[in-house]
Symmetry: C2
Subunit: 523 residues, 2 copies
Amino acid sequence: MPVEWKNLDLTESFSKLSPSSTSLRKDLTEERTKEWTIPAGAGLDFYYGASLVSDNVLQQLKALAEEQQLSEKYSMLLNGERINTGENRRVLHHLTRGQLGTDVTEDGVNLGTFYAEQKKRIAQFASKVHSGEIKGSTGKAFDTVVQIGIGGSDLGPRAMYLALRQVVETKLNALFVSNVDPDDAADVISLIDPERTLFILVSKSGTTQETLANRDLIIERMQAVAPSGYDASRHMVAVTSKTSPLAGSKQVLDSFYIDDYIGGRYSSTSAVGGVVLSLALGSNVFEDFLSGANEADAMAQESNPLKNAAMLDALIGVYNRNILGLPTTAVLPYSQALSRFPAHLQQLDMESNGKSVNRRGEAVNYPTGPIVFGEPGTNGQHSFYQLLHQGTDVVPLQFIGFRDSQTGEDVEVDGSTSQTKLKANLAAQIIAFAKGSAHENPNKNFDGQRPSSLLVADQLTPRVLGALLAHFENKVMFQGFCWNINSFDQEGVQLGKKLANAVLDGSAEDGALKAFAALLGVS
Amino acid sequence: MPVEWKNLDLTESFSKLSPSSTSLRKDLTEERTKEWTIPAGAGLDFYYGASLVSDNVLQQLKALAEEQQLSEKYSMLLNGERINTGENRRVLHHLTRGQLGTDVTEDGVNLGTFYAEQKKRIAQFASKVHSGEIKGSTGKAFDTVVQIGIGGSDLGPRAMYLALRQVVETKLNALFVSNVDPDDAADVISLIDPERTLFILVSKSGTTQETLANRDLIIERMQAVAPSGYDASRHMVAVTSKTSPLAGSKQVLDSFYIDDYIGGRYSSTSAVGGVVLSLALGSNVFEDFLSGANEADAMAQESNPLKNAAMLDALIGVYNRNILGLPTTAVLPYSQALSRFPAHLQQLDMESNGKSVNRRGEAVNYPTGPIVFGEPGTNGQHSFYQLLHQGTDVVPLQFIGFRDSQTGEDVEVDGSTSQTKLKANLAAQIIAFAKGSAHENPNKNFDGQRPSSLLVADQLTPRVLGALLAHFENKVMFQGFCWNINSFDQEGVQLGKKLANAVLDGSAEDGALKAFAALLGVS
């Protein structure tokens, strides 16, 4: 059966969907809590009992998955078809962590082999840095690695590093410079020893304005403070595409490659994440991370959404967005190690599905990607949860939790450890949101009926983190298929770039643009 | 004239408001850009030309400000009336930075004098730490201060410290522990020298579960690794209320006091922010920060919103929320130093105005506080801006920018410095959102008509930061007055606490709650 690309509102299954009469206060029982769960890979489980769906809605969502051919479209993607219609590109981030589809070959090159080769080269390079075979230009061993990149070259790798640096033994300290604000680079520069620092310059195109400006700023500073004999080119590697101006540059020690089929926000499992994670944490850790992602990717091939966590999460999200009319989603990890994971998901989701046209470029007349935000619990409980509990708008919640902490350092206070308190709070919040609590004083009343889901595993290990990342990547992909949009381009970033360049080269014509530039002191 | 507390939808001025026909493409001229601006204190200016209001709407919003008696209600608050109806409390954070109303006296104590005395005691204490008169228990000078607190005791002080540590000379390094997740404390512990670290325990009630657990965890670790002679009580001070169990404890070196009239999310200018900022940055820096806040507070007393930046910002926000129906707001600082400022504003706004009942405890039937999120530009441009530009939902934007960087370390690349690139991008984004750009390919089309405002100053100094903080605090307060809600309590945080304690003491009854606890391994 050939696949058909259909707008959501033209499907028969969508027209049959309507708000369920689910009352979480009544329907969220012990049984439903225990039974409404699916494995999501690497020991991660997806619990969806506290979402606002009924058995009947689940069946309708299953029909929608079939009608929109989610499974078939994922297969096409895995097989290397040009799913990214806007840019006429393949979408191959899954292939960076294992091959699930057919061989993908282009210009005589097997792209799975190409990604695997880069991974091998990275592992060899990292091993030489760790052993001291590769040293800085003044003969000192590297102790710090600094990634220079922005957007997908920053948020994902940074979030992954922060998530894992406490659970494995770090080999090098990692820092990140992203913002073109020169204070960002200045801060990192103040923390490093030039002789012992290796920089990773990450830009697929090799032309990213912020990244090249930061490179030049950093090299100038390093040369100013390092002793004579310091050679900046021996303190930098590049991650870029083979066709970029950076590829094979003499200004870097080595180059590692990606290609146009790895979108920035999907690049944590490619060389973009691989170099920094392999250097900082070891290539075996990076391999474990990939194997967890691969396991989740494989499980996402299941065509029945009631057995496919990423697909079901996607469908429940579409239900929240298009049937219940809820425009936002909060991601709430009960793990300090995931402090920047919500910022990464914010990019992943909002950059992928914040679109108003379908994959053929025609306007859609229904809401697409939601606004995504979040902070770790329990911190959020003492902050914005007030609105989540008692505000006038309902926000669907995605909780994430772990049975064990990463370090195991803990203490018992008032009869329980901190980790136990953390988990008790997580369980309590799900129920407080779902069931509320009646009170005669309306100011102390909680209506409940605020939906959530929970992803849970034993511990946040590299494998679990890989599965968690892949879960959300695949969720976003399936939602894009439901909405019939292209989740893999980002034309929305272009206009700002163009206007900024017009300000910088003096060609800006709009009076208000010139006025805003002038009031900021850009003449 | 006695003030009247009226729901928004019962005001005559609100009933006259309707969506304006403003077309930003046409109406946002050079002239409007330059002229639609008001000073916000300490050299900060508020530009609102790119918002979706017309002259006519501005006049209607002025009428709303008058009818809702925003200025009179602010005066009542400044004069110490019990504006926080839910808890029958005064609201006195303004008084921590200067007296603008009448004397506020309770039980014979002048509260303005009380706050000033605490500030003086903090300055004296900080001075002794800086001079080495106060040392650690093993005779070593302190080089690090660690704040242990959560919610308002964490987000505001942390955001302020990060905002200022590059623009002034730091005296001590500051770190923060907030989350009950034991990995949070473990991370900070790995970075400090016990003999040279001073802890600040911050809890108004003295009973915050997360904070006390972290205190005990930290003391246990310090005692385990520090040499004999280490005395934990000489490495800790408390910030609490005089009636709390912590007050005057022998387990701390000294205590500094706040009271029930300083809400956690409004406490950055009280001892909660004062101790850590004075120790880390110097009490003169903290004084400058307060003076900027006080200047903005004073300017917010102006009754005409067309001359009052905080009030006008509030009214435009109400217009976006209740007339245009826009449920979210993004805060986008073009300054890496403000990396955690959006997280603080998220708490400030969502915890204050995420309410469904009015100040008398009656349900309101209109939307109140929006969902607030944000990240620094230019980073966000490479991330979630895609949705902001081309998503199906419109998100009002609050830009913040500065003419100069904090460190001044910069380099020219391709004819412009990084700071100039940063500002060119900011100007470009405002125009891209406002005016869009037509393109025959709908995928490359930008509708524009997406509203924003801009707060701008020369440099992010302590005084400017104070004004910036006060601007948003006063904005949130004025919006609360418009919506007739109590912005100063937070009953929404209670139910989760209660249920978590029920899990911990084994008294939980709900089957689903017990099931969620069990699946997380809490038996």
